[in-house]
Structures are given as structure tokens and as C-alpha cells.
């Protein structure tokens, strides 16, 4: 039973952390351009082209 006293707050804390992360992601615009992010990994960085 004493184990529960630790485990339940930990479980809740982790859940809350996930929730905070999700709310932050919405706020910072991570969901604004999902297709773009998927495509961006395909762009080659052309170092020699950089100014």
C-alpha cells in the first residue's frame, strides 16, 4: 500500500507532463504545418550555396 503513495503521484505527474508538453506544442505552432515538416527532411542542405 505504501508503494501506491509514491507510484500514483508519479504516474499522475508523468501524465501531467505529457499534457503540458502537448499544450506547449499547440501554442508554439508545432501543428501548423505537419505536411511541411514531413517534407523538410528531404531538403538537401547546400552548404556551398550559403551566403
Amino acid at each position: 500500500m505504501t508503494g501506491l503513495a509514491f507510484l500514483i503521484p508519479i504516474a499522475l505527474g508523468m501524465g501531467a507532463l505529457g499534457l503540458v508538453a502537448f499544450l506547449w506544442a499547440i501554442k508554439s505552432g508545432q501543428y501548423e504545418d505537419m505536411e511541411g515538416s514531413a517534407n523538410r527532411i528531404l531538403i538537401d542542405d547546400e552548404e556551398d550555396d550559403a551566403p
Partner: protein
């Protein structure tokens, strides 16, 4: 006009001026199709002087450019065009209030998801056999999490249910709200009295699944609103009024007064109706008439709001402003015509009208039945609530949005933006199609016949035409660029309004000018030294127009032409496509034709682009406009297709029908599945565990079934592509 956002720029890599201020202007660029385009825009644009950075939003097909205040919209559009992308400035702040709803739903969804996971964790322990003090503790913890979560995440449903009840109506949200509130109330009572079952997880899970459906619905509406809203704003929103002292100042369109004298620069759109006092120019009236050819105007001619002045500045005395302009009159017609559409009842609401009373009476009967059978109030109530939860339209809430989101996503990939779910539902029901000609069946822009030009002539023509914004020149540029012609280096280029372009090349005089004879067809004369050639322009038919009409007729949809154009031009097109036509129809007549179809019991689809099609588009059962259409038409239409092909029109109907088929299947699955569990609930065997399993499984089945649509547009498109190659 665009309202640029002021940013204080500290970093700069390409800043040419030392003002330290930067503007951010947003553009819609429909041509962004792949990672390569993102890379090209973001890499190439900052190399231009005055542009600090560019950021692409791929989903919204939008580019935000951070630039020097010295550059205006026109320069930036030209910069984008130079690297191969057509762009349009975004009229309003894109972070408007509309996206707020989606964010709110997403937040509610996140909170519900958090609550569901944690309560489920505790519930699983209870189901696994926790007893006594542990069970009570877990129930209390569940209550502690569930109550705030339900209060927050349930708001969208409670609000909507309250609104419905206030006006003595019922909607899907009423049974949901009653179910959730009763389940929560009972669970709190059970927890307080140390009872065996608490339904917190069912209540929260119900909210979670329903919010997922709502969020999907909102995402879909936002996605297309981005696309369509971005194309707004081509009409004149302000004008340069010339004061008595000769000074000009900008006045917003709604503050203009009849009698004012305004200066209309080349390239500017008229903001009100007026008569030319001084000047001679060509105007593009395509917004009002849908006609692509530029019209010559001179002193004394009347100009309508929305007309774009092409070549030379004009002084115009305003006659009608604001609500009185021809444009506003058409807008009013559209508004009235659109009223009927707002009476359309969406399938989810139709289903809930039948479903909600059934669910409520079933639960009430269960309560009454058990009371009569001699069970206590408490036990009867528990059973009634179990019935409510088990029959709750959780999968039904997902049935429509999942199918529609998947289908509209598939259509978007094929070049068709559907505005919202109700548009898909109406598209599925149409049985007659009416097409406008200019700009819809045809490309809507004059293209030259370049086959008769030799290589040298092509290069010279491109070299000259590049310098002009005249529609004929622009058509020439497009056709020659598509034929990979490199422009000849021409010097001393000058443009004379109403006459043409002239310049020098290799020591010879070259010119692109108005032909001397042949008044009735669109043509221009290319002169190199002493040699002269006439280039004829025609408004070409979309390449797959015939295939599309055939495909529609295979689906049992009869097509006809309804155009405002001249009789003979329309008859030519009608003969080429083999369908009946009505020519020289005014906006009012177009509207009447559509109303006549509806009176006969047909459900017409209107496809048109001009503002003169606006009222007809608004009145039709469903409507589609090409991406090149006037803003008002795009707003009135249910869907917008992009590109040269007409095929998306037929595709839209096919996919919409398939979507509705899947939606009906989803309803059958959801109701059928829940119906199986109803006897268990009625006889009091439903525990929270069974409720949870029934709910998640039926939701998963519905989502899975909807995902089958993702291939729908693809396979339909392939058969279409096959037809195109045969045609």
C-alpha cells in the same frame, strides 16, 4: 490591400537599408508541391536584395516573407515569379479568429486524453480486483481528475446543447451532455457512498472520442478556409482621391463618396463605379464579366468596381460607391440565393434527430421498467444510465467527420479544395451539372498560336512580352516559357498604352503591337525589322474538358453550358463538347435557370468562375469554381479546383458519393454494434468495463472503415488518367 505586420529586426543577413525595420507579408503560392519547392523558395528568395527570409507553410501553401519596407507586394510577387511560382498576397491576418476554434478543441482534446489515460490506469486496477479502501481511494482519485477534466473538455458540448435546448430544439449534443452529466453525477454518488462501480472513465472516454471527431471537422474547415481566404482581396479596397489642392490621399472603399475624383494607377483595381474624366487605357473586366480580353476605354466610358486598370493611369469621377455599385448588387443577389443553402440539414444532424429521442426513450423505459419490476430508485437509475452510455453516439460522432476528412485530404492531393463537410454531402446528391464557358470549360486566358513562329521570332516575342502586364503579353510569356524558349536580349523597350511594345534587338527595331486589320479576333503583330507576323490568340478549351463531361454522364449527370458570352462562341464550345448550351445569359438569368432546375426537383451542380456566375453558384445545390475565378465566386462555391484540368470536377462527385456510402456504412456499424450491447444494458449486466470496451471498439471500427477512403481519389483519378490518354 495587405496589412503588413511590423517586426523589429535585429538580425540581418541581406538587409540593404539600415532602417532596421522589417515587414512580414504573406503570400499564397498554390504551386508548392514538394520538398524541392520549399527548399527553392527558402533558399533563393533571401538572395534577393531586401528580402531577409522566407518561410514556407506547406499545408496552407503559403509563404511568409520578411523583407525591407522598400519592397512592396508587387516586387515580392515578381521575385516569386522569377523563381517559378505564381503568388497572391494574403488579404487578412491569417491568424484570425477562425483558427481559434480548432485550437480550443485541440486543447480540450489534450486535456480529455490526459484525463482518460490516468483514470483508465486507476480503473484497470479496480477491474482487476482492487477492493475495500484501495477501491475507494482509486474512485476518489478518479473523481478528482475527472471532475475538472469533464468541466473543461465538456464545454463545447454543454454550450451547444444548452443553446439547442434554449431554442427548444435538440441536437447530437443533448444526449451526449445528459449522458455525461448523469454518469458523472451517479459516479460521484457511488464514490461518496463507497459503491462498487464508478463510470468516470466512460464519461471521459466519451468526451475524448467525440472531441476527436469535432477536432477533425474543424481541421478540415480551417484547411480549406486558408486556401480560399488567401485568394481574397483582389478587389480595390481603397482609392487615391484627388483633393481640390491636387494632392492625392488614400481613402478606404467604404468611405468613398460619389462625385469624388480618383486617380487609378496602372495595375490598380477600381474600388467604386465611375466615369473616366481623363485618360485612355485598357481594363481587365474579368472579375465582373468573366471575359478575359482586355477592353479599351477612353474618356466618358463607365468603369465598374473590380475592374483592373492595365496600361495607363486614369482620372475617374465616381458615380456609385459602396453598397450601390454593380458589384455590391451582385453580392446582394448572391447573398439571397445562398440563404436556401443554409437550410440544408447535415446528415449527422438528421441522424441525431432520429437517434436522440430513441435513446432517451429507451433509457426512460429502462428506468420505468425496473421501477415497476420492483428494483429501487438507485438500481433503476444505474441501469438507465448504463443504457445511455452504451447507446451514446460516440462512434456516430466520429462516423461523419473521419470519412469527410479522409476524403477531402485525398481530394486536396488531386487539386480540389472542398470547403466543408456539408459541401461533400451536397456534392454527392447532385444529378445535373451546369457549366459556365469562359474560364471554366476554357482556360480563361488568351493563349497564342505559337506554332507559326520560328525560333528567332519566339525569342524576340518573349523578350518583348516579358516587359508588359497586358493579358496578351502575359499569355505569350506563359506559352513561350512552357515551350522552353529563352528570351532575346532586347534593349530600349517602351510600352505605349493601346498600341504595343517596341524595342531594339541586334540593331533592328522590333515591336509587338496591335494589328492593323482584323478587329473581331484577338491578335497582335510581331515585327522584326521589316518582317511582320500576326500572332492569333484564342481562349483554349481545358485539355480534358470532353473526358470530364463524358465521365459525368457515365455517372448519370447530364451537363449543359450556361454562359454570358456571345451566341456563336458558346455554340462552338457546345458543339465541341456535345452538350446543350444557353448563351448571353445575365447573372439574373443564370440564377433563374438554376432555380428552374431546382423547381423541377433536380439537384444542380454549378461550375463557374466569373462574378456573373456568383448568384448561380450560391443558388446551386452544390458548386465548384476554378482557382482562377473571381474572389466572390470562390467564396460562393463549395469547392475550388486548381490547375489546367477540369477532371477534379468529375472526381469530386465520384469521391463525394463514395464518401457518403462510407458514412452510411459507418452509421450502420456504429448503431449495429451498440445495439448488440443494449440488451446487456437493459438487463443490468453492463459494468464500466463492458461500456469502455464497447465504446472504444466501435470507434476503432468506424475510423478504420473511413480510412478506406484515402485511396478513393487515387483509384478514381487513375481511371480518369487512363481515359485522358485515350482521348
Amino acid at each position: 490591400m495587405n496589412v503588413p505586420v511590423l517586426l523589429a529586426g535585429e538580425t540581418n543577413q541581406g538587409g540593404a537599408t539600415g532602417s532596421g525595420e522589417r515587414l512580414t507579408t504573406r503570400f499564397t503560392v498554390p504551386g508548392i508541391k514538394c520538398a524541392g519547392c520549399i527548399g527553392k523558395i527558402e533558399r533563393e528568395l533571401p538572395k534577393r536584395e531586401g528580402i531577409a527570409s522566407a518561410r514556407v507553410n506547406f499545408s496552407a501553401k503559403r509563404v511568409a516573407i520578411e523583407h525591407d519596407p522598400a519592397l512592396d507586394e508587387g516586387d515580392l510577387v515578381a521575385a516569386l515569379l522569377a523563381i517559378g511560382f505564381e503568388a497572391q498576397a494574403v488579404a487578412d491576418n491569417p491568424m484570425g479568429t477562425e483558427t481559434g476554434e480548432r485550437r480550443k478543441l485541440m486543447r480540450a482534446l489534450g486535456v480529455a486524453g490526459f484525463g482518460m489515460m490516468n483514470i483508465m490506469l486507476l480503473s484497470v486496477s479496480v477491474w482487476a480486483g482492487a477492493e475495500g479502501a484501495t477501491r475507494e481511494l482509486f474512485h476518489w482519485l478518479s473523481a478528482l481528475i475527472a471532475l475538472p477534466v469533464i468541466a473543461y473538455s465538456g464545454r463545447p458540448f454543454f454550450d451547444s446543447a444548452w443553446m439547442a435546448l434554449k431554442y427548444r430544439r435538440t441536437n447530437m449534443d443533448v444526449p451526449i451532455s445528459i449522458g455525461v452529466i448523469l454518469a458523472t453525477g451517479l459516479s460521484v454518488y457511488e464514490t461518496a457512498t463507497g459503491g462498487e462501480h464508478a463510470y468516470f472513465e466512460s464519461a471521459v472516454m466519451l468526451l475524448f472520442f467525440l472531441l476527436a471527431g469535432r477536432a477533425l471537422d474543424a481541421v478540415m474547415r480551417d484547411r480549406t478556409r486558408d486556401g480560399i481566404g488567401a485568394l481574397l482581396g483582389r478587389m480595390g479596397k481603397s482609392a487615391s482621391v484627388i483633393g481640390d489642392d491636387g494632392e492625392t490621399r488614400r481613402v478606404d472603399a467604404q468611405d468613398l463618396e460619389p462625385g469624388a475624383l480618383v486617380l487609378v494607377a496602372a495595375g490598380e483595381a477600381m474600388a467604386a463605379d465611375g466615369v473616366i474624366e481623363e485618360g485612355e487605357s485598357a481594363i481587365d473586366n474579368s472579375m465582373l464579366t468573366g471575359e478575359s480580353a482586355a477592353e479599351g476605354v477612353k474618356t466618358g466610358d463607365t468603369l465598374h468596381a473590380g475592374a483592373i486598370n492595365l496600361t495607363a493611369p486614369l482620372r475617374v469621377r465616381l458615380t456609385l460607391t459602396g453598397e450601390d455599385t454593380a458589384l455590391a448588387e451582385i453580392a446582394r443577389l448572391m447573398d439571397e440565393a445562398g440563404q436556401s443553402r443554409s437550410h440544408y440539414v447535415r446528415i449527422a444532424d438528421r441522424a441525431s434527430r432520429a437517434y436522440a429521442p430513441a435513446v432517451h426513450s429507451l433509457a426512460a423505459l429502462a428506468f420505468a421498467g425496473w421501477m415497476i419490476a420492483g428494483a429501487g430508485v438507485h438500481q433503476s437509475l444505474v441501469i438507465a444510465i448504463a443504457v445511455l452510455i452504451i447507446t451514446c453516439p460516440c462512434a456516430m460522432g466520429l462516423a461523419v467527420p473521419t470519412a469527410q476528412v479522409v476524403a477531402s485530404g485525398a481530394l486536396l492531393k488531386r487539386g480540389l479544395l472542398v470547403k466543408d463537410g456539408s459541401a461533400l454531402e451536397r456534392l454527392a446528391e447532385i444529378n445535373v451539372a451546369v457549366f459556365d464557358k469562359t474560364g471554366t470549360l476554357t482556360m480563361g486566358e488568351p493563349r497564342p498560336d505559337i506554332a507559326r513562329l520560328d525560333d528567332e521570332a519566339r525569342r524576340v516575342a518573349l523578350g518583348l512580352a516579358q516587359h508588359s502586364r497586358h493579358p496578351l503579353s502575359q499569355g505569350l510569356v506563359k506559352s513561350l516559357t512552357e515551350a522552353s524558349v529563352t528570351p532575346a536580349p532586347i534593349v530600349n523597350v517602351s510600352e505605349t498604352a493601346g498600341h504595343g511594345l517596341a524595342g531594339e534587338w541586334n540593331g533592328e527595331t522590333v515591336a509587338l503591337e496591335r494589328p492593323i486589320s482584323g478587329a473581331h479576333e484577338l491578335a497582335s503583330q510581331l515585327r522584326i525589322g521589316k518582317r511582320a507576323k500576326t500572332v492569333i490568340f484564342t481562349d483554349q478549351m481545358r485539355p480534358d474538358a470532353r473526358a470530364t463531361i463524358e465521365r459525368l454522364s457515365q455517372d448519370g449527370i447530364a451537363a449543359s453550358i450556361l454562359s454570358g458570352d456571345r451566341e456563336e462562341a458558346v455554340q462552338d464550345a457546345a458543339a465541341a463538347l456535345g452538350m446543350p448550351a444557353k448563351a448571353e445569359a445575365s447573372p439574373q438569368e443564370k440564377l433563374e435557370t438554376l432555380e428552374a432546375f431546382k423547381a423541377k426537383g433536380c439537384r444542380p451542380l454549378m461550375v463557374g468562375d466569373g462574378l456573373n456566375d456568383g448568384p448561380a453558384l450560391a443558388a446551386a445545390h452544390a458548386s465548384i469554381a476554378p482557382g482562377t475565378a473571381s474572389d466572390a465566386s470562390q467564396q460562393a462555391a463549395d469547392a475550388v479546383f486548381i490547375g489546367r484540368d477540369l477532371a477534379p470536377v468529375a472526381l469530386a462527385v465520384t469521391v463525394a458519393r463514395r464518401t457518403m456510402h462510407i458514412v452510411r456504412q459507418n452509421f450502420a456499424l456504429a448503431i449495429g454494434y451498440n445495439a448488440l450491447a443494449v440488451p446487456l444494458a437493459l438487463f443490468g449486466y453492463v459494468t464500466p468495463l463492458i461500456a469502455a470496451i464497447a465504446m472504444s471498439l466501435s470507434s476503432l471500427i468506424v475510423v478504420g472503415n473511413s480510412l478506406r477512403l484515402s485511396g478513393a481519389a487515387g483509384s478514381a483519378g487513375q481511371t480518369n488518367a487512363g481515359r485522358e490518354t485515350r482521348a
